[in-house]
Symmetry: C2
Subunit: 489 residues, 2 copies
């Protein structure tokens, strides 16, 4: 298979990638900026609003933390050095040691009583798939009672799942490892089911369960055989290439899907499996333009997990939604979630659906934006406006504005139309709070009512409170001695 | 297989697609344009230069021909209504009735004595492939003597060929028909061999001949079986989609190749052919990002052939080069070629090659530009500048400037970054002559010396004389009675 583009340029000096701290930040009227620029001083004009009330003190404390710059550089270097490779396909029971009765879900932790319709629908379907109940009513009742049932976020088990993101023991997962360092780290994601009436959008009818059974019985084992014969598939290079082919990796994965398929295709054909199974698998994958989403997501997860647990770092390492709450995690605050109410996306609707049918934002797929693609790379995928709404100019503006809240330009993920500028990557909590610019996510929309499936796709932002709450926690974590230093704001 | 986008919207009123004749054409200083615009008059500002000396009279005569507007509308309607579909894969002996000893080549007619290195190299290879000589020296000598050898342009036999474009009887061809009208018309093109040392770039070493033999013995028959089982593949929809995926269809065909492969893949796998052959064919196709070029080209040829032979039409229906001459044909002048010296492209070189190694422009592949994609759609494929040179801004500017010499915006081929504006299509001889803007072609570069292969890729224009000569012929064809009418300039 041919592949152009670079093969894993290692990040030698991430400090060179960090956006320089502005010498003069000019907000509001342009007179100051113009006067200062006339004196040859570097000016960064930002779309600045006053920080929300109550954030001045924690913001000053965090930006005054002398550890911050190096901490963010360290965290981001680890993120950008990660070379995600698909290394295996395995059932969740095996890959994650997922116990019967345990169900992973997207977003921050939530229990049944607060779960939204699509998450409930997906859990009902997963209970049916696992044979723990005979019908939907019994499944719902079991989940409500909670006997022998454990719900836990995917993120806490090294996994991610799009939309409801439900993973149960018999589902097969993609396993992604770092090709640049054999450090044993892994990230996992389920196999994509296609569009419409599918489990991740909260549908659980017989056709949904039947498809999942085929995926576990035929597709998963076939992909395992082919991948093991083929060897690891470099996902970072595919993401880099798909951004040059009109995909942004969240709601457009058409090129990514085909690029990935061509890598494993000869091994699939040579797998020794019945020709009919191979043909059906190829039809299923090639006929689903979103198949690669479930490969881009764990690639992003693996990269961002590398940036976790760096004291003083204000880098966002996860953004995820469970359909009720939007949550973020940062490199400087361990596994703590900072949550706020998930918003309803604004976008385009399928068939007869409208805004009233849409559930609030759901899914771990915002890991793509967190990792520097998805909504952050919309300028690379102008055709996506036909799917999520807005104009081509909006798509360009979305990417451009994300440079204001990120720490670097991705060295491998580039936007051709911006003259191959690297995508904005590395969301900085302090930049979000001080500019008031929220991360731009583009996403699918699930039906509000369990069992509905997909109703549309659109654009959405996290609630600002996730970032102000994270800032408060980051401020609390700044050691007392550290605040004597000079502000690097 | 899923496919989005429209499926053959029929052209109901092509007049709506024709660029309106300018009410005021403003060239030179902008004062006039501004003054007129201030009076709410429509102004079209063009990059205008005085027509070349000697063209004023024929230009006036042709634009004064009252048949012209309707003739161009008729021709263009036929071009744009064509829905190219791949309907079969057959050997040239069968598809074209190509006789032993007959060799088709790219561009306008040429004989051995004037043939450039890459065309000579490809002819030598084809003679070896057909078993008419035992080695290259004998093949060259046979071609020089010409005993039993006939050279003819592909275009004259309903075919197109990239670069040297040599087609010999045992080569297999794609056969393209119009899905919108079963009028029996067909266009043909050889199967793409890949890059580097390949026949179309003038290489004829043993590996070239061996690959061609495999293509005739295995690949062609396999594709025939698969395609006949699958049914026709809609090439127009693939071209429309690839333009939304960073391809322009001349030098970037990566998305097109994968989109086409996914259409025939299940039938290939189910073909009943040995698994090893299927795997090898899939590896060959998926590993060659240019495979779709040989499908886009006959799609363009079929569309443009529909526009031929409309008296009074100034539409260009073919641009083609044989490595020595650049030739064009127009809708109003039958099969006559208007030729001038082929230029050496300006671009990027492979390995140790440089400008001195490059042969002048060669190939029928400029049919892509003639049909409204390729170089005319470079704005859709900004990443192509990494292959052909120039900047992203140049790619956008190339497409934008082509609107000035074309009659319409393509209803199905759209450029997302230009807010889904249709590609410029329908080159008008009069617009080229009066603006002095030449069609923008992006192309591969063959080595000057026979046997070399590809040396680079770049940008090139036709010589202006093709258009002034065509204009003169068009002027000569205007009936005397017709010139009394009012000029529609």
């Amino acid at each position: 298979m041919t592949s152009d583009g670079d093969s894993h340029p290692r990040i030698r000096d991430v400090r060179g990638l960090l956006a320089a701290e502005p010498v003069v930040v000019a907000a509001g009227a342009g007179l100051l900026a113009e006067a200062v620029e006339a004196q040859a001083v570097t000016v960064e004009r930002v779309d600045w609003r006053p920080p929300p009330a109550g954030t001045e003190e924690p913001l000053a404390r965090v930006v005054g933390d002398p550890r911050r710059r190096q901490a963010n550089a360290t965290a981001l270097e680890r993120v950008l050095a990660t070379a995600p490779q698909l290394v295996d396909v395995r059932p969740a029971s095996d890959a994650l040691g997922l116990e019967p009765g345990t169900f992973l879900h997207a977003g921050p932790p939530i229990d049944w009583s607060r779960a939204s319709g699509p998450l409930r629908g997906a859990l009902i379907g997963a209970v049916l798939l696992e044979g723990l109940a005979g019908d939907a009513t019994a499944a719902e009742s079991l989940l409500e009672r909670g006997d022998g049932i454990t719900l836990a976020p995917c993120h806490g088990r090294g996994a991610v799942g799009p939309m409801a993101g439900v993973i149960s023991p018999s589902m097969w997962l993609f396993e992604v490892a770092d090709g640049s360092a054999d450090d044993g780290r892994r990230a996992y994601c389920s196999l994509n089911e296609g569009l419409g009436k599918v489990l991740r959008y909260g549908a659980y009818g017989p056709e949904v369960i039947e498809r999942l059974r085929w995926m576990s019985a035929v597709l998963g084992p076939l992909l395992q055989t082919a991948l093991r014969a083929n060897g690891p598939v470099d996902l970072g290079t595919i993401i880099a290439q798909m951004l040059q082919m009109g995909d942004e990796g969240h709601n457009r994965n058409r090129a990514g899907t085909l690029l990935w398929l061509r890598e494993v295709l000869p091994a699939l054909i040579d797998s020794g499996a019945p020709t009919a199974d191979v043909a059906e698998a190829v039809r299923f994958i090639a006929g689903n333009d979103h198949f690669f989403l479930n490969l881009g997501m764990p690639a992003g997860k693996l990269a961002l997990d590398a940036g976790r647990d760096v004291p003083g770092a204000t880098l966002v390492v996860a953004m995820a939604r469970n359909g009720t709450d939007f949550g973020i995690q940062t490199a400087g605050t361990g596994d703590e979630w900072f949550t706020g109410p998930a918003q309803v996306p604004d976008g385009l609707f399928l068939g007869g659906f409208g805004p009233d049918d849409a559930n609030p934002d759901i899914g771990d797929s915002a890991i793509t934006e967190t990792a520097g693609f998805g909504g952050f790379a919309m300028a690379a995928a102008p055709a996506i406006v036909r799917f999520v709404g807005g104009s081509v100019a909006d798509a360009l503006a979305a990417t451009r504005s994300m440079y204001e809240i990120t720490l670097a330009e991705h060295p491998r993920y580039q936007v051709p139309i911006l003259s191959f500028r690297g995508t904005p990557v590395g969301i900085d909590v302090t930049r979000v709070v001080r500019t008031g610019i929220l991360p731009q996510i583009n996403t699918g929309m699930a039906g509000r009512v369990a069992g509905t499936g997909q109703v549309g796709a659109g654009l959405v932002n996290p609630p600002a409170s996730c970032f102000t709450d994270a800032l408060t926690a980051l401020a609390r974590a700044v050691p007392e001695a550290e605040t004597a230093g000079k502000s690097s704001l």
